[in-house]
């Protein structure tokens, strides 16, 4: 089953037989009568820890999955719930009670255009996705409204990379500029820092990080900081 791991696959390539081994297949793979077939073009990855196969590819359109952390923009406001755009094919439903400490009397004051950081609880192809602003332990833990700052759009691959623990870019940025960041798996990143110029520098480094080598990121940031200092003299 894993002779193709870390190899480039194209839709229609047969990955292997299921046989009796217990294995989970993720996005980009499809089981059709005992064989697993690739449905997207990309690199086949296998994580031994979760026994999980998936295809890593460069994509912009987000397809909701359960337990994904996403950033959404509120599009409609109803009495009991909000409609939130998370960049997928249809808007997600956010109930007004899915906030920490929200009761019938004190509902969260959100209106159209606000940003929320939420977790996807219901996601399947026949139903509207549903999101909540609570962690599994029903605590806020960073979920909820994002105030101020700036939101940028990037590809899904980059947002996964930013979420990985050893993400080099965020550590380097942290050395030079104090900032606050929320990364949504749907290709949206919310950044906030002391001054507008710093936020702009952070968002530009994140967007250009795909195109410049790792060792050139630090000089890129330092140069941007100098030009910012001269500008506001």
């Amino acid at each position: 089953m894993d002779k193709l791991v870390d190899e480039f696959v194209v839709p229609g390539d047969v990955i292997g037989k299921i046989g009796d081994l217990k294995v989970r297949i993720g996005p980009g793979l499809l089981q059709s009568k005992e064989t697993v077939v690739a449905t997207k073009a990309g690199v086949l990855r296998y994580s031994k820890f979760h026994k999980f196969y998936w295809i890593e590819n460069e994509q912009k359109r987000y397809v909701p999955q359960v337990e994904d952390m996403v950033i959404g923009t509120i599009v409609e406001k109803h009495a009991e719930s909000f409609k939130v755009d998370i960049g997928s094919s249809c808007n997600a439903l956010l109930s007004a009670y899915s906030f920490e400490g929200a009761t019938k009397s004190n509902k969260p004051l959100l209106n159209i255009g606000n940003l929320v950081y939420a977790r996807v609880t219901v996601a399947n192809r026949d139903m509207e996705p549903e999101i909540v602003c609570l962690s599994q332990k029903q605590k806020a833990e960073g979920f909820g409204q994002l105030i101020g700052g700036y939101m940028l759009n990037c590809s899904l691959g980059l947002s996964h990379y930013l979420l990985s623990e050893d993400c080099y870019i965020l550590q380097v940025l942290g050395k030079h500029i104090p900032y606050e960041i929320a990364v949504g798996v749907n290709g949206r990143v919310w950044v906030n820092s002391g001054s507008n110029i710093n936020t702009i520098i952070i968002s530009n480094t994140i967007i250009n990080s795909q195109f410049i080598q790792e060792d050139q990121i630090e000089p890129f940031i330092l140069k941007a900081l100098e030009t910012a200092k001269e500008q506001n003299q």
């Binding site: 480039f8 194209v10 839709p11 229609g12 980009g28 499809l30 077939v37 449905t39 997207k40 073009a41 990309g42 690199v43 590819n57 460069e58 994509q59 912009k60 359109r61 397809v63 094919s89 249809c90 192809r125 026949d126 795909q210």
Partner: protein, 233 residues
């Protein structure tokens, strides 16, 4: 027996020789997936949005996603001739997309012709396939298309010569033409259209020669591999 000097066409290509192919992917910023495919002077840009919300409720399908194709020629506005090209591209593309994975959504493929120098429908189908791969739409295989043409052999004029991938002036004084589309996962005919009068054995001769379409599919795999692998290492 002297080997007959290999027949050379006006533009210097031999009978079965395709034009040199160039391709470029994810060049548009707004589209979910985009690709430019050009065969010498014929070049086409294809963009894909999907899966997105259906723009008119009448077209919404309950169990499948609705595939919509828009074909705009290089000059002026679309005429009824382009509507037929839209239908050919739509059928060829819809046979590879796994539409049942995203019911009640829409995948819109937009084709813009840069310059038309013959076999424009085949070039559009190849460009659409590359754009779908770039957008990460679930597919069960790649689709490639090829155009063939019958020309009167000037030596003995009852036998006619069958040439591959004609350009515009070859196409304009051709006796008959046939467009084929094959997918990579089965050697059945996905789409075929003939223009002009062909006898049956000429048609099946064209069908046999159209298997040259596998080289186009092989090229597409290489193109996507270079783009994705090129980025990672």
């Amino acid at each position: 027996m002297v080997k007959k000097q290999e027949f050379r066409r006006l533009n210097g290509r031999t009978q079965g020789q395709l034009r040199s192919m160039e391709s470029e992917q994810s060049l548009l910023n707004k589209a979910d997936g985009s690709a430019k495919f050009s065969q010498n002077k014929t070049s086409v840009l294809a963009a894909v949005y999907g899966p997105i919300e259906v723009n008119s409720a009448r077209k919404e399908k309950i169990l499948k996603s609705y595939v919509e194709v828009t074909f705009t020629p290089a000059l002026g506005n679309t005429t009824y001739l382009d509507k037929e090209k839209e239908l050919l591209v739509k059928n060829a593309v819809e046979s590879v997309i796994l539409t049942t994975l995203h019911p009640r959504t829409q995948v819109s493929v937009i084709i813009q012709v840069y310059s038309d120098d013959g076999s424009i429908v085949s070039c559009s189908i190849n460009a659409a396939c590359l754009a779908l791969l770039d957008a990460g739409i679930e597919m069960n295989g790649l689709i490639g298309s090829i155009t063939l043409m019958n020309e009167d052999d000037d030596e003995d004029n009852n036998k006619c010569l069958m040439i591959v991938d004609p350009d515009l002036n070859e196409e304009n004084n051709s006796k008959a033409m046939a467009i084929f589309a094959f997918s990579s996962n089965s050697n059945n005919i996905v789409m075929s259209k003939t223009i002009g009068t062909l006898t049956e054995d000429q048609y099946f001769e064209c069908l046999k020669a159209a298997r040259g379409c596998d080289s186009i599919i092989a090229y597409m795999k290489l193109a996507v591999k270079n783009r994705i692998m090129g980025q990672n290492n």
